[in-house]
Each structure stands twice: as C-alpha cells, then as structure tokens.
Amino acid sequence: MASVTLSEAEKVYIVHGVQEDLRVDGRGCEDYRCVEVETDVVSNTSGSARVKLGHTDILVGVKAEMGTPKLEKPNEGYLEFFVDCSASATPEFEGRGGDDLGTEIANTLYRIFNNKSSVDLKTLCISPREHCWVLYVDVLLLECGGNLFDAISIAVKAALFNTR
C-alpha cells in the first residue's frame, strides 16, 4: 500500500535521528536520492522526459500546437500546464481525488515559468497578434514517493529541453 501509518514511537525515533543529521534511509539532512532522467520516451509528442527520484516517478509530455497569442502579450507564445495525479500513485487519487493536488502543482508551475529568465517566450511567436506556438506541458504522476515539486520541475525542464 502506498500510505504508511506511523506510531508515536516511530515518529519520535525519526525526529531524534534528524536532530543527529541521520535520516531513516541513512542519508544526511541535505543529501539527495539518486535521480534518473530519461528523455524522448513517448514518441508522438514533441518532447518528453521521465524522472525517477527514489520512489517518485514522473512522466512529462510536451505537445506543441498553433494558437493565437494572448491579448496582453501579443509577441509571445505561452505554456499551458496540466498535472494529472494518476490513481496508480495511490488509491486515494482515483476519480477526482487527485485533482486538488494536481491544480496546486499546476499553479506552482505557472508561477515558476512565468518569469522571463526561465523560458524565452518571444521565440515561440510566429507572427505577432496572429499566430504563436502554444506548448502544452502535461505532467503525469505515476508513483508518489515524496518530494514531488523537485522531481516535477526537473522533469518539465528536461522535457522542454527535449522539445524540438
């Protein structure tokens, strides 16, 4: 089962360990788990990436489509994020259960990629006010093993890098 219930004694044990800079799986307080990044996994997308961070597994697909620029930014294309927490991560995500977490992560992604230094949106423009590229970034949460934001941001970055 994906959900783990801890007893009080276990919680005290974990807290004491952290105070001594030793976590449950032997890492120090600032150590990362091993990250595996794989790109170009889904063939009918413009770019894709898969990231495995311990037990967390994220799959991102980027599809590029033509669209019209937004009215307040006629010279730029834009990105649309959609996060799908699939039920395979944990049974609580079945049906609409994963929607709350999905929208929260999607909103965070919008804020992250909103500034000029992350993605140059001007290159996505084809003709001002008429045509531009819209990049639909779809994030699929396959397995949830903690630290979702890091893994998702790495995966989105890798998928955008892989986009032709």
Partner: protein, 245 residues
C-alpha cells in the same frame, strides 16, 4: 479511402505485417515498488501501464462490500499526450468509464473473487501512448499486474483486436487500421479453456464472416498468451535468483 490500402495484393498490411501477425510485444512486471502489483506492456507503439492495489478493505462506503466475494474496481485513464491530438481529460469521460466497466467485467470473470470476501481489488490502467488496440494492451498489462500482486486467477486473460478487410481477417489492429472504419472486434480470452471473458464489437459485420474474424482474434490471443507466459516465468526466475533459491 483513396490512396491508403490496408491490405496489399501480396498480403502485406500498412506496417508490413501479414494478416494474422501480431506487433512486437515487450512486457515487464514489477515496475513500481510501492504498489502491490504493477506491469508495463508495449504492443508495437501502444504503451500501457497497469497497477494493482489489493486485496484490501473497501474504501468509502462499507455498504458496497459483497459478503461472499471481492469487489473488483477498475479505472482506465489515458494520458493527455497519448493520442495524436491532445486529449483534454485523462479520465472521467464516457469512453474511459466504458473501458473501466469492460475491464471490470473481464477481470471479474477471471479473478477468483470468492477467496477474498468483503474486500476490494483496485486495478488502475494508464495508457501512455495509443496506437490502436488499447483495450487489448490494457487487459494484457492488467493480467501481468494482477499476477505480480499475487492475486489468484482462473487463468491468464489475453486480449487482442481483430478486423475484417477485403475478405481477410486482420489481427492486432493499429491506429491507422482502426481509423479506416471497417468492422473491428475486441476479444479477451482465457487461453487454457478457450472461454471468452469479453467480446466487444460495435460495427456491422455479416454473420458469415464472424467465425473467421473470431478465429483470427482467438489465435492472436493464444499467441499473446505464449509471450506473457514467457515474461512471467522470466520474472519469477529473476526474483528467485535474487532471493537466493
């Protein structure tokens, strides 16, 4: 359709296969450590992932518990980037609900539900890339996942799609062949006894041809069974090596 021949004069299909030939199948069991059972299958360009949780206590209302057998709960979800055109909603739309129901019917016929009364078995299937034959890929992946979870089944459930073009029955249709609009049939079979778990067709086909198309689908399902059997044995062999037996 002008210009696109589904079956050439020499008997070759659009992707170079013969009429009864399956696409290349690769499968892996035990992809996720947190789930009770999981499996991943690739049938040509169609990629499906199945995850099984269970048997566990009924979530939600206790009133749904069946006193003599387990409740099988299936959800079918296809990723938004799975098809050529981007899909808006991964699950909750009619096609996904219908597929979920069909998967549930299929697996209620195969899983020995009497062994786990008042409990629930969840089967979640995710289609990562859809290139025709999604129902078949989902059933095959779910079979492997249920086996990986250790839930007892009557037999493997092997599925394959079949169509009918120019008087010949084609097995394992790809997206191009499905989109051409001819009659197509999806069959889920329990190979050892030859019993049919689910047969679905929503097109018009003359009854004289039904026998041939059914036989083509059944033969293809038996071929799939040979492959899945090999995958399971390989997985068990690897697991026992790791355990040191």
């Amino acid at each position: 359709m002008a210009g696109l021949e589904l079956l050439s004069d020499q008997g070759y299909r659009v992707d170079g296969r013969r009429a009864g030939e399956l696409r290349k199948i690769q499968a892996r069991m035990g992809v996720f450590a947190q789930a009770d059972g999981s499996a991943y299958i690739e049938q040509g360009n169609t990629k499906a992932l199945a995850v099984v949780y269970g048997p566990h206590e009924i979530r939600g209302s206790r009133a749904r518990a069946l006193p003599d057998r387990a409740l099988v709960n299936c959800q079918y979800s296809s990723a938004t980037f799975s098809t050529g055109e981007r899909k808006r909603r991964p699950h909750g739309d009619r096609k996904s609900c219908e597929m979920g129901l069909q998967l549930r019917q299929t697996f209620e016929a195969a899983i020995l539900t009497q062994l786990h009364p008042r409990s629930q078995i969840d089967i979640y299937v995710q289609v990562l890339q859809a290139d025709g034959g999604t129902y078949a890929a989902c059933v095959n992946a779910a079979t492997l996942a249920v086996l990986d979870a250790g839930i007892p089944m009557r037999d493997f459930v092997c599925a394959c799609s079949a169509g009918f073009v120019d008087g010949t029955a084609l097995a394992d249709l790809s997206h191009v062949e499905e989109a051409a609009g001819g009659p197509q049939l999806a069959l889920a079979l329990l190979p050892a006894s030859g019993q049919i778990a689910l047969l679905e067709m929503d097109a018009r086909l003359h009854e004289d041809h039904l026998e041939r198309v059914l036989e083509a689908a059944a033969q293809a399902a038996r071929d799939v069974h040979t492959l899945l059997d090999r995958v399971v044995r390989q997985h068990v062999r690897e697991a026992s090596i790791l355990l040191g037996d």
